[in-house]
């Protein structure tokens, strides 16, 4: 618990109703959607940039850690406050300040929920394309801080491709403006880019300027089924090699298909694998036909199409629900985010998926694989008995093998979910030569190391720590 005078100070800054110290609040703000948990000592909910500056000034003087937080849907423990300290809930800063279609940008506060922004943009025929699976609840601030993306990244790119500028409160309490309101800018260091993916370790983003894109006139969706996972993977590379860029190309393996059918009461074909392929724009129908022909050639068992908005939504709902649905796959398993977000060169997808399955078998665990195959980004979920020390240990070994496979295939250990705690040891391997530079940047911008300390390059040891599940609880 922080000294009462700090709590009083925070209350003076934001108003008493925005400072939370009860058991219920501290415990619940200690979770995100990862395997980790640690309660903060206080939660504070600012409503204005000025308040953030004052809070951070207090924290910096007293050397108290601050973890900025959006919706808490991060999958690697990014918003879990390892040192307790302050969790800063930014969801009350949720105003869409401007939508300037004629200049192709919008200006938002960090707490705006992704889906809400797109609802407003849609009224003007525009959208902010990254489409993370958590888009109905996650915030723009969280997306920027993690460089989130999603199923439309293959055609439209990731969050970083849309960030034109931002305002950031630095650890010193200074407010800096980075980037511009223009589509192009070659005016100095691209520091707004540095903040993208910074995971709350370099500053607190209080305003974001995002590029917006016109909504496509039309969308078409195809569902291709395969009786071999390997063939489905090959299908993906074959589609991409033809030079047609779909607006989404998703893969689900049989574990995922079964889980979604059970949880969501859907009836996706019970095959080894399926691909969901979307094309958009004026040529959507033509393009999907061409893609279908390629899928057939590469061994798809069946292909069905739809342009019906409801049917497409239903299929996407199934896809978006894979991650949570896997948690009900078997009665004694929970699904945990470990090695959940690898990206490999597209031509290596098939090899990667087959290797993951083999690793799972070797270690006696279940792994469900799905993801944005079209851009090489694969998600896996490990299903395990959270009470079994042995399964956690096996899972950690399997994760290590998976990451090594990915690095051998010239991939990256995270395509979009970012590092936090759960991926830190392997990012440290992948970015070996950059670690010192990262640490130098961190030290320069945050001398007292108060901003989300202990994550990414600063993490040490096994990731099976700060577990929200029972095994280490017994161990403690």
């Amino acid at each position: 618990m922080l000294p009462p005078k700090i709590i009083t100070h925070l209350k003076n800054i934001t108003g008493e109703e925005n400072v939370f110290t009860t058991t219920a609040d501290l415990y619940t703000y200690g979770f995100d959607a990862s395997i980790h948990h640690r309660s903060p000592e206080v939660v504070v909910r600012p409503h204005a940039t000025r308040q953030i500056q004052e809070i951070i000034t207090v924290a910096n003087k007293e050397k108290i850690s601050i973890v900025p937080r959006g919706a808490g849907t991060g999958l690697s423990g990014q918003a879990v406050p390892l040192q307790g300290g302050i969790v800063m809930d930014l969801t009350a800063m949720n105003r869409i300040k401007k939508i300037r279609i004629s200049d192709l940008y919008c200006l938002v506060e960090p707490g705006v929920v992704y889906a809400n922004l797109n609802k407003e943009l849609a009224k003007k025929g525009f959208f902010f394309p990254p489409t993370p699976g958590s888009g109905d609840v996650c915030t723009i601030g969280g997306m920027v801080a993690l460089n989130a993306s999603g199923m439309r990244a293959i055609k439209y790119g990731a969050t970083r491709d849309y960030v034109l500028g931002m305002k950031v409160v630095m650890a010193s309490g200074n407010l800096v403006t980075l980037g511009t309101y223009t589509l192009k800018n070659a005016s100095g260091y691209q520091l707004e880019r540095l903040m993208v993916g910074s995971e709350g370790t370099l500053g607190i983003i209080t305003e974001i300027t995002l590029r917006v894109f016109p909504l496509p006139t039309k969308r078409t969706l195809a569902l291709a089924t395969y009786s071999s996972l390997k063939k489905a993977g090959e299908g993906v590379s074959a589609v991409i090699a033809q030079g047609i860029i779909p607006s989404a190309l998703e893969i689900m393996d049989n574990v995922c298909i079964k889980a979604v059918n059970k949880a969501m009461n859907l009836s996706l074909p019970n095959k080894e694998a399926l691909l969901l392929i979307e094309t958009d724009g004026m040529n959507a129908t033509d393009e999907i036909q061409k893609i279908a022909a390629i899928c057939k050639k590469t061994g798809a068992d069946s292909i069905t199409f739809t342009e019906d908005e409801k049917e497409m939504q239903q299929l996407w709902r199934g896809r978006k629900s894979v991650l949570p649905s896997l948690s009900r796959y078997g009665d004694n398993y929970v699904s945990v985010s470990l090695a959940d977000d690898m990206s490999v060169p597209i031509s290596q997808i098939s090899k990667a998926i087959v290797a993951f399955q083999q690793i799972a078998t070797d270690h006696g665990i279940i792994i469900g694989t799905y993801g944005h195959a079209g851009d090489g980004n694969l998600h896996t979920k490990v299903l395990l008995d959270p009470n079994s020390q042995d399964q956690w240990k096996q899972a950690e070994k399997a994760v290590d093998k998976i990451y090594h496979t990915v690095l051998d295939l010239r991939g990256t250990i995270s395509g979009e979910h970012a590092i936090g705690i759960s991926k830190a040891p392997w990012m440290q391997k992948e970015r070996r030569t950059a670690l010192q530079t990262m640490e130098n940047i961190k030290k320069t911008l945050d001398k007292n190391n108060i901003l989300n300390p202990g994550k990414m390059m600063q993490w040490k040891g096994s990731i099976i720590s700060y577990l929200r599940y029972p095994w280490t609880k017994k161990e403690k």
Binding site: A33, D89, S134, L323
Partner: protein
């Protein structure tokens, strides 16, 4: 050690529920649309927050204190989160189970005492029930119709009379829904069913409690289902109305179509919908134990419903005395569906 899950706590909860709690991935999908979270924006208000608190209590990570107790009651049990959860967690059921283990809020004491001593949440006495013990058709008005929304009871009995029925109006001790929701101990009252084979309800909460608890041999129906079956011919009523799904009738009992069809059978009536409707309908915060403990939240939730009805320039109609009563107190003018039916049903 229970099964494969090592929950430390002695709180008794069946294994299936404990596993459900453990299966929460923390995705937060249940926040979207939660009427309480929408107002407070804090984690402990959401379904996710409450599931994690249940987990914390079961694991012994936290102990129940005032804030934890309050968090479990700061929920209207509207069931919206359950429709959102892709991990199939029955969030309201887990909240209800936890309520059985933790103390009540001070605001609930009087309610519990009133029901235990006077058989209704208001601590008042009933007017004598109308009895027609020979009828095979029964009607259970419940506390709210007897003591507050008497207009709905009057309209319902009038409609039944016009349709040629004189029901056996059941002795009306409380259906105990408020106690059930609070997690308090319930003693089932003795009721005299006479020759009833069909029992009708205006209040969806009463219907739910009866369906849940007993009476397998008696057909239990909401009054709108009964009216729909009888296919009465209505006189025209040229009004634009918007139908508010009560949580108990909709998400708890799955009755969405009957009230809408009854309204649509009235010539000239134009039925419009809320933006969030049917399974996604907005909860107005009307349940008695919720609005007693959290009046400000309940007010904001109710006013949101009133605002949208006003914006759509439509008469607000609903099918629960709880919603009517609450929305009237907030300055709205909701009609119960039976009041409209009575108005449009000519005498035989």
């Amino acid at each position: 050690m229970e099964g494969k899950y090592n929950f430390l706590s002695t709180i008794s909860m069946d294994k299936k529920r404990k596993i459900e709690i453990m299966s929460c991935t923390g995705c937060g999908f249940c926040k979207e649309g939660c009427p309480v979270f929408e107002q407070t924006g804090i984690e402990s208000s959401s379904g996710k927050g409450k599931i994690l608190l249940a987990y914390g209590l079961l694991q012994g990570d936290i102990i129940e204190d005032e804030s934890v107790t309050r968090a479990f009651y700061e929920c209207s049990l509207c069931k919206k989160c359950e429709t959102r959860c892709p991990s199939l967690i029955d969030i309201p059921l887990i909240i209800s189970s936890m309520r059985k283990h933790i103390g009540y809020l001070p605001q609930h004491e009087q309610l519990i005492q009133n029901i235990n001593t006077s058989n209704n949440p208001f601590g008042e006495t009933y007017e004598a029930p109308v009895l027609n013990k020979n009828s095979t058709l029964g009607y259970f008005p419940g506390c709210f119709l007897n003591l507050r929304e008497k207009n709905i009871k009057k309209a319902t009995l009038s409609v039944l009379k016009k349709l040629g029925y004189k029901p056996h109006v059941l002795n009306t001790s409380c259906c105990n829904a408020p106690l059930e929701r609070i997690g308090a101990r319930i003693t089932s009252p003795k009721r005299d069913y006479g020759y009833i084979n069909t029992l009708l309800f205006s209040c969806p909460a009463c219907l739910y409690m009866f369906k849940k608890n007993t009476y397998k041999k008696i057909q239990l129906s909401h009054i709108t289902e009964f009216i729909l079956q009888k296919k009465p011919i209505f006189t025209p009523w040229k009004k634009k109305v918007i139908y508010h799904d009560p949580c108990y009738l909709g998400r708890w009992l799955g009755i969405y179509d009957a009230p809408r069809q009854v309204l649509q059978n009235i010539p000239g009536l134009e039925l419009v919908e809320f933006t969030d409707t049917r399974e996604s309908a907005q909860c107005c915060g009307s349940e008695v134990e919720f609005r007693t403990a959290f009046p400000l939240l309940a007010e904001k939730m109710g006013k949101k419903v009133l605002r949208e009805a006003k914006k759509k320039n439509a008469l607000l109609v609903t099918a629960s005395p709880h919603c009517s009563y609450h929305l009237k107190k907030l300055g709205g003018h909701p009609l119960d569906i039976l009041e409209i039916v009575d108005n449009c049903l000519p005498l035989k």
